[in-house]
Every structure is written in C-alpha cells, then in structure tokens.
C-alpha cells in the first residue's frame, strides 16, 4: 500500500468508524436528553393496540405507503434507492465471509455470476436513482428548498456509487481478493493483497473507500440521521 492508500483505505477507516460512533451517540444522546413533548403529537386513527402500533411503526418507517399517494415518482425512486442500498450493503458482507450456502449451491462460477448480475443490477439502479435525486433538485420548488448539504450528500453518493460500479464492471478483482483486503482492515493490519496491489483498479478501490469514509464521518451531523431518527418520528405519528 502506498502512503495515500494506506491512509484512505486503512487508517481513515478507523477514524471514520470512530467519528460515526461518537457522533451518532452524541446525536442520539441529544434527542434522548431533550424532554419529551408534553403534547401528544400523533394523528388519528389510533392503532388498536401496542402490537398494531409496532407493526405500523415498521410499515411507516420502512415503506411509508402514504408517501406514494402524494408523490408516486419520488416515492418509487426513493424506495428503489433505499432498498437497493440496503441490499448492496448486505452484499458487502460477502467480504467478511462468503455466503457459503449460496456458494455451495451455485458453485464458484455460479456465485461469481450471481454477484455480477445482482451486484450489477443494483449498482445501476443506485446510479440511476441517485441521478434522479440530483436532477430533481435542479427544478423548482426543490431547487429553492435545497441547501448546500443536499448537494454535498448526493455528490458523495454519486462518487461512491460510480466508483463502486466501476469496480463491479471493469476491475478484475475477485471476491476473495476483496475479502483479503477487508479482513486485513478488520484485523487492524490494512494491506492490499498482491492481486489488488498490482492492478490500476487499486486506485478506484482506494477512492471508493475514501469517499465512503467521508460519508460515514459526515453522517451523524447531517440529515442522513433520518435513517435512524425515522423510527423515533414515525413512532410519534401513532402517539395519540
């Protein structure tokens, strides 16, 4: 690993995780410490019981069906983006451990093929949806509503997704090579295995990780906290 790679794809990962954990803990502490509103702010109808309320909370937070009625286009893109993102994040766990049952069932080649098809499709969906996000903000009223932060986050995401897609489509790096790198980070001895270190794509990987680090560090201080805060606010929706 060269100096910059060692920093961006190594040391910085630890800094990012630390900033995220401390920042998010601070943010959540701020929410929890503030007094609960003495006024109940929910909207009716009231869920019949606690079980129904809990189920409604999950539904409102994960699929927010009411939003589809208000703005079907934005809703469709938002759902596609978020579910693809969740799937992609999950798929990254392959770099910690091979999804053995699937790999056994499909064989080595089959598994690589699945990764290429599923990963490729999701990567394209993410790129298209994030471009829709930014495209939409070029027009009123979204343009007038937007602040710098909105563009900054979308910029980070476009770069992260773009570099991720580049790795998926063009870099000839296998899952086991990624895993070797990823595990080296997890075991606090960051290095690029030879197969990566020799390829030009190591720079793409380095920059991908670098921007992910920025994103993760910025997360607790931004509107990105909606990913966590949504459960708290949607719970208030049913508080009547």
């Amino acid at each position: 690993m060269s100096g910059f790679s060692f920093f961006a794809a190594g040391i910085m990962v630890y800094i990012a995780v630390l900033v995220f954990v401390v920042g998010m803990a601070y943010q959540i502490y701020g929410w929890v410490k503030a007094p609960r509103s003495a006024v109940r702010l929910g909207i009716f109808p009231k869920p019949k019981n606690k079980g129904v309320r809990f189920f409604k909370l999950l539904k409102d937070s994960f699929i927010f069906p009411h939003s589809a009625e208000s703005d079907p286009w934005m809703y469709t893109f938002a759902i596609l983006f978020h579910f693809s993102l969740a799937a992609v994040l999950f798929a990254h766990f392959r770099m910690v451990h091979e999804f053995t049952p699937i790999a056994n069932a499909l064989g080595k080649e089959g598994m690589e093929k699945l990764g290429a098809i599923a990963g490729g499709t999701l990567g394209i969906i993410l790129l298209v949806t994030i471009l829709f996000y930014i495209f939409r903000r070029f027009f009123s009223p979204y343009k007038d509503l937007s602040v710098f932060e909105d563009y900054f986050i979308v910029f980070l995401l476009i770069v992260i997704i773009g570099l991720g897609d580049h790795l998926r489509f063009f870099a000839k790096i296998s899952a086991s090579e990624y895993r070797a790198y990823f595990l080296s980070v997890l075991t606090f001895r960051p290095f690029f295995p030879e197969a990566i270190a020799e390829k030009g794509a190591r720079w793409v990987l380095t920059m991908h990780v670098f921007f992910v680090n920025l994103f993760v560090m910025y997360f607790p201080f931004s509107k990105l906290t909606h990913a966590i805060g949504t459960f708290a606010v949607n719970s208030v929706r049913s508080d009547v």
Partner: protein, 443 residues
C-alpha cells in the same frame, strides 16, 4: 423569558450610538434565542434533524398545491425554522452554517417570510399524513409563532381578539348581566321550539354533570339547549366562548389564559365534564394542549358536543326521525375533529341515521382536504382572498358529491364554507351537526 411571550415584545428601538445599537441587537437576538430554546423538546429536535427536504409533502398542502408558492410548501415552512436552529443550536450547523444556510434569528428577511408562512398555515396537519418521517410542520410553526410574537411580529388582529378574550375573563362581572339578558330571549325561543315551558338554559349551575362551552352568539346555544333539554340531563352553559385566538396567535401563554377561564369555571361549578361545542381548535386546545401548558391533570373529562350527542342518540335519550332528510347530504371532516382528534365515526353515525342520501367526500377522514379557513384564517381579513383561492380544492370536492347540504362540526370550517359557497357558486346549505339533529329529532 416568562413575560416576553405574554404582553411585552422584545424591544427593537434604535438608539443613537452604534455601540448601544449593537448591544441592543445582541440582547434582542439572545432573547429571541431563549424563546426558541424554551420550546425545544425531543420531537422538535427530531423534526428539525431528520427532514430530508424531499418535498414529498408538496401536494399534501392545499395552499402549495393551489398557489405553487414555495412559502407554503410544508418542508420549506419548517426549513425556515431549521435555518435558525442550524445557525444557533445544532453543533454541526454552528461550525459550518453555510452548509445548511444557517440564519440569525433576527434576520429581517427570514422573519418576514416566516411570518407570512406561519400565519397562513391552517394547522390542518395534512402534510404530516404524507411525510415519510411524519413531520408535524404545524408543530414546528407553533414554535415559529412564539418567536414571531416575541419579535413583535405576531398577527395584530389575532392578538387583539386574544386580548379581548383575556379581558373578558378578568372582568366577567361586567359581562354577566348582558349575557343573562340575551339568554332570556333564547330561552323563550327554546320553550316555543320544544313546546315545553319548563325548558331552560341554566348558567352557574353548580354540581351539573356537563359544562357546555358554546361560541359567541346564540347559534350554538339554541340547538344544543334543545338537545340537552330533550336528553333531560343536568348541564350548565359556560359564560365563556370556546374560540381561542391565543392559540391561532401562537402564544401558548395567552392561549392558556383563555382556556383557563373555562377550566376555572368548571372547577368552581364542580362539573363532571366539559363539553366543547362544534369548534375544532377549541376542542384540540382543551383536550390535547391545555394539560401540557398548565402542567396539571384536569379533574374532569373533555368531550366534544358531537361525541355526547351520539351517546344521547344511542341511549335513546334523543330520538331521531330516521331517514327524515331526503336531499343528498355530505359531511366535512374538520381537521381538528378528524385527523387531529379521531372523531370520524360519531358524526357519520348521526348523519346516516337522519339523511336518506348520505354521500362521503373523497378523500375523507385523515386524508380529507382542509377547508382552507382554519388556523384563524377566517379572522384575518388580509388573508380573505388567499383562503378563498386556496379553498378551491375543497370547493371541487364538495361539488363532486352533488350534495345539497354540507354538515360539519366546526365553526371555522362553516365560515369558510360560506365563503366558498358564494365564491364558487356551490349552491349548498351549510349546517352544524347540532342544527341537523335539532331539526330532525322527535320533539
């Protein structure tokens, strides 16, 4: 900060020397920030932190949908408060205000825009229904109104109406006799209508079961009195009107003072329940807000008149002429009665028993469109044109039902419907639920 929100506004008189001017400006800024800080709670922080500015709320607001003016876009309304929050309170915003367009709390342009946005909002909370994070824009704007009031930018008309109500509470003896005099005439009318010389409109009736809080004028007293007398229950008419302009003004201190008049009366008369007439915001204030403002648990129940009337009908205390009304009738869910208080079924139960042809609007219940006149808009003459313009969606909705009569249990809605009726040539009759019952019950 105790007295800032009550009657004093924070002074912004310019001074001779630059030095004192700066000092005063800083002092005012600090004072306004104290108002904001005093209103911070968990829900507000979350509303300010999690909004993604996706603007899915866009067409949920009738005002934005009709005008396409960003001032009325729910996310933008809250964003104005968020800009103050970012600049002054949020840690990240204080370090990098530019990232969030953070603004000073005394920023003239911002306060002007916030004033227009906040006082135009009807507080219907329809945007909350469609928001993926269920952000309560009206709640954020209630904080905005406290800041505006402290900055001397509260709505003048609403302020005067609120002060008049507080004055009445402090000087009730001045009003008592006039009130009782007026009621004598209404009582005669009541006896004629019911053919019952013993029918009465009791006031100051200690130990009564229900304290009924009506509106100014007799139009919500006579029909209610007919129903109470037919139901043969013990009640007492409140000396105060239910309407709360302090709430519309957005001064929780004034709003509390106005509601407190009724609470004190109820305590003095030792009633079991307060029954709020068909007035949406008055019900919300009493049922959902008062205890939070006063930090006390009320020793009696709060119910709306329609809820009680439905009970009388179910118990057979009031007998309706079933399917007596032949013309098509529709019902408007007032936001503060439906979405914000949960009464969807009771009024429909009554309507369906009386009307032979009941037609629901679409959409209805929690998705119902606001009439466009809530939030005190019908009392602000400067917004007359605006509320009629933005009531277009409601007018279209009514037209589609083909109904000849529209029944709704909220005075604000009824006044707005009158305007819409005229402006859009709807040719309908507008009625309260109590009038609809009184005209269609077995005497």
């Amino acid at each position: 900060m105790e007295n800032n929100t009550m009657n004093n506004t924070i002074n912004i008189t310019p001074n001779n020397t630059n030095n004192t001017m700066d000092e005063e400006k800083t002092a005012q800024r600090e004072a306004l920030l104290e108002v904001l800080k005093s209103k911070i709670n968990r829900q507000l922080l979350l509303y300010l932190d999690v909004c993604a500015r996706c603007a899915i709320c866009r067409d949920a607001c009738h005002q934005y949908k009709v005008t396409k003016d960003i001032t009325y876009l729910p996310a933008y309304r809250a964003e104005l408060v968020r800009r103050i929050y970012k600049k002054n309170i949020s840690p990240a915003g204080r370090i990098f205000p530019k990232l969030f367009e953070g603004k000073e709390i005394d920023d003239e342009k911002l306060l002007e825009e916030l004033g227009r946005s906040a006082y135009a909002c009807t507080g219907c909370r329809r945007c909350m229904v469609y928001c993926p994070f269920s952000i309560d824009t009206a709640w954020v704007l209630s904080v905005a109104k406290e800041i505006l009031n402290a900055a001397g930018r509260g709505n003048t008309m609403l302020g005067e109406l609120a002060d008049a109500a507080i004055f009445k509470g402090e000087n009730i003896d001045m009003f008592k006799e006039i009130l009782q005099e007026t009621l004598k005439e209404t009582e005669d009318e009541l006896r004629g209508k019911l053919n019952d010389p013993s029918a009465s409109i009791p006031m100051e009736n200690t130990g009564a079961d229900f304290l009924y809080v009506a509106l100014a004028g007799t139009h919500t007293i006579l029909p209610a009195a007919m129903i109470f007398n037919k139901a043969k229950i013990s009640w007492s008419l409140s000396m105060f009107e239910a309407a709360n302009y302090g709430y519309f003004l957005g001064s929780s201190k004034k709003a509390k003072a106005i509601a407190e008049r009724i609470v004190e009366e109820a305590k003095r008369l030792k009633v079991k329940e307060i029954i709020i007439t068909e007035c949406g915001h008055a019900y919300r204030v009493m049922k959902f807000l008062y205890e939070a403002w006063a930090k006390e648990k009320l020793p009696f129940k709060i119910r709306g008149f329609v809820e009680l009337a439905a009970e009388f009908i179910k118990d057979g205390r009031v007998v309706l002429k079933e399917k007596n009304f032949p013309e098509p009738v529709t019902y408007h869910d007032p936001c503060q009665v439906g979405r914000n208080a949960g009464f969807y079924d009771e009024p429909r139960y009554i309507m369906k028993r009386i009307a032979a042809d009941f037609r629901d609007m679409a959409p209805n219940k929690e998705r119902n469109w606001c009439c466009g006149g809530g939030g005190g808009l019908v009392a602000m003459s400067e917004l007359d044109k605006f509320r009629i313009q933005t009531g277009r969606l409601k007018a279209e909705q009514i037209k589609k039902t083909g109904a000849k009569v529209l029944v709704t249990p909220c005075e604000n809605c009824r006044l707005q419907m009158d305007s819409l009726n005229e402006a859009y040539g709807l040719g309908i009759e507008i009625s309260s639920v109590m009038d609809f019952i009184a005209n269609n019950m077995v005497i």
